[in-house]
């Protein structure tokens, strides 16, 4: 009898191994869920986005080259008017311009925090950057609408809405991302690089400019691309200040639009499955692919530029 009990308890799965199994199942299902979500985001957006070209016979060349956006109507050949060029130009313009403005500031702040005054950098700049990240994008949009747009209207003419307003708002929004990643890039430069340079008699600035920055180039590029990816995908703050006119921007202060702004404006006003709706999903698909491209770029750069 007693032998049987011992035998049974030895052959039976122990409590611990049962728990282990349950735990493993939980953690595996959680990660599978994440993968499924990502895959289904791509599948859903892609099927909807491609329908514009397959089901509704939109021309993919028109999409990238024409500037007439009126998906409800058709041209002479029966193809819907889906020229997305104004939005594409708008999105790229605000992204590139804001990155151009933000990069010097991000690098300067990063150098300050890592090379010049780490203590004050940690005490003052670090919390400043964290707060800038924390401010919600609608608040940026609201401040842009009530401060930046009137300022541009009064000093540069036009309505104030446009690429310039979008650039200024996005500049502040991507600054923290670009800065904190540049800080990481500078910190990753080994200390003996600086020591070697200083020992050769270089000044602090010469060390920074000729050694540290050169070594950190891949990391800083990653930081800028991350910032651009954030700028490209930002929706509401831009939508509030850019004017949302589907026209090719004539100058920096004429009303323009971005992919995200037309998406947020239009999705509520179109019926699921209609041409206008599918065309919007094409914009979303483009947005998705761009975000993927930014990701791939970051990967490439960090692989190539890893410090040995």
């Amino acid at each position: 009898m007693a032998e049987d009990k011992i035998r049974e308890s030895l052959l039976k799965e122990s409590k611990a191994s049962k728990r282990e199994k349950h735990g493993k199942i939980l953690s595996y299902s959680a990660i599978i869920l994440i993968v499924v979500v990502v895959v289904s985001i791509f599948l859903f957006v892609a099927t909807r986005g491609i329908a514009t070209f397959t089901v509704n016979k939109g021309s993919i060349i028109d999409f990238f080259t024409k500037s007439q956006w009126n998906p409800g109507a058709t041209d002479k050949g029966g193809h819907p008017l889906i020229g997305a060029l104004p939005m594409i130009v708008g999105s790229f313009a605000v992204t590139v311009l804001s990155a151009i403005v933000a990069t010097p500031f991000a690098i300067a702040a990063a150098i300050y925090m890592v090379e010049i005054s780490p203590r004050r950098g940690y005490k003052i700049l670090q919390p400043v950057i964290e707060l800038l990240v924390g401010i919600p994008s609608v608040v940026y949009g609201f401040v842009g609408l009530s401060v930046v747009v009137p300022f541009i209207r009064n000093h540069f003419g036009g309505t104030g809405f446009g690429i310039l307003a979008g650039t200024l708002v996005l500049f502040v929004m991507i600054l923290p991302t670009a800065t904190s990643m540049s800080v990481d890039a500078l910190r990753a430069v080994p200390r003996y690089y600086r020591e070697a340079s200083l020992a050769l008699g270089a000044t602090r600035w010469q060390t920074i400019y000729k050694v540290v920055l050169r070594a950190a180039v891949p990391g800083i590029m990653t930081a800028v691309i991350f910032g651009m990816s954030r700028a490209f995908g930002e929706a509401l703050a831009v939508q509030m200040v850019i004017g949302n006119a589907t026209l090719l921007p004539q100058n920096l202060v004429s009303p323009a639009s971005t992919l995200t702004s037309i998406l947020t404006m239009g999705m509520g006003n179109s019926v699921m499955g209609s041409v206008s709706n599918n065309a919007l999903w094409s914009l979303a698909l483009l947005l998705l692919l761009m975000s993927l491209l930014f990701n791939i770029l970051v990967h490439r750069i960090s692989k190539k530029g890893a410090l040995h």
Binding site: A30, I34, L125, L132, S137, F294
Partner: protein, 294 residues
């Protein structure tokens, strides 16, 4: 130019540019708080919003924001902890792990408006939840999962390996070691990360306009039965949040005091985010002190 002089000039430029960043934040905060705080009153915080007249409050929106935050954290916390445990404890360097890491990276860099549209398509339309708190909470979960998971993974990884060895040598299974030994040790870090992401979720709007909706029906704060249509706890009602409200009254609103209401609402949002930040910092500091013995 003399190298020493170049050094001085460059240092001065760096000081000025860093100063400009601090100035930008200071002006931003000053503008929002200076314009917004005078509008904050008990009436403003509790009264329902007006659609055509002035004098409306943000009571319902404020409640919706907190309720949505609570629900989405309720869903995303366990999932992110399980996923984080996989990545830090079970993940072998194989294909599956690679796919998972790439997925998380891609998901974390997706524009929130795309996440919102996906939520609209899947939760609101296909699953039939409509514009509801449930759809919104699920969309926010998708938006929040990658960052939370990474935070859990990092916190778990920072626990010394000897802790795991101790647990295993006592005869605990790997899972039990994680749950009873490693997780409690990593908890402060996880909580800090969760509070920070709560601040992010609290201010998120793009993922919500087509999932939780842009309308805030009046609520009956005396009936807390979640199945009652006007109950504050009903997860199937449309729920405009504070952030969505600011966006809406600025882009298509017709209330005459839109600027005042959005200034007040922005101030409330900023104050909430500040509180989240301070809380996270306090906990972080405490942990730092405890773990370093300083």
């Amino acid at each position: 130019m003399n190298a020493k002089r170049a050094d001085k000039i460059a240092t001065a430029v760096l000081y000025v540019m860093s100063g400009i960043i601090v100035l930008i934040l200071a002006l931003l905060l000053f503008y929002i708080l200076f314009n917004g705080v005078p509008h904050i009153s008990w009436h403003f915080l509790t009264a329902p919003a007006e659609s055509f007249q002035k004098g409306g409050g943000i009571g319902v929106q404020l409640f919706n924001s907190f309720y949505l935050l609570f629900l989405s954290m309720l869903i995303s916390t366990p999932i992110s902890i399980w996923a984080g445990i996989y990545l830090s404890e079970y993940a072998k360097p194989n294909r599956l792990t690679n796919i998972v890491r790439t997925s998380i990276e891609v998901l974390s860099s997706l524009p929130s408006v795309v996440v919102g549209l996906f939520g609209f398509l899947v939760f609101a339309v296909q699953a039939g939840f409509g514009f509801s708190i449930l759809s919104g909470a699920l969309a926010l979960t998708v938006f929040n999962l990658p960052l939370l998971t990474r935070n859990v993974e990092d916190s778990l990884r920072s626990v010394a390996f000897t802790q795991r060895e101790a647990g295993l040598s006592l005869g605990l299974s790997r899972w039990e070691t994680v749950i009873h030994v490693v997780l409690p040790e990593a908890l402060p870090g996880i909580i800090t990360g969760m509070i920070l992401s709560a601040g992010r979720v609290f201010g998120e709007a793009a993922a919500l306009i087509y999932t939780a909706g842009q309308s805030a029906p009046a609520l009956d704060f005396t009936n807390w039965n979640p199945f009652y249509i006007a109950s504050p706890l009903n997860p199937m009602r449309p729920a405009e949040t504070l952030a969505v409200h600011i966006w809406k009254i600025n882009s298509e609103g017709i209330i005459p005091d839109a600027t005042a209401v959005s200034a007040g609402a922005s101030a409330v949002l900023i104050i909430a985010v500040l509180l989240f930040n301070i809380l996270a910092r306090l906990i972080g500091n405490k942990v730092y002190k405890r773990s370093t013995g300083l």
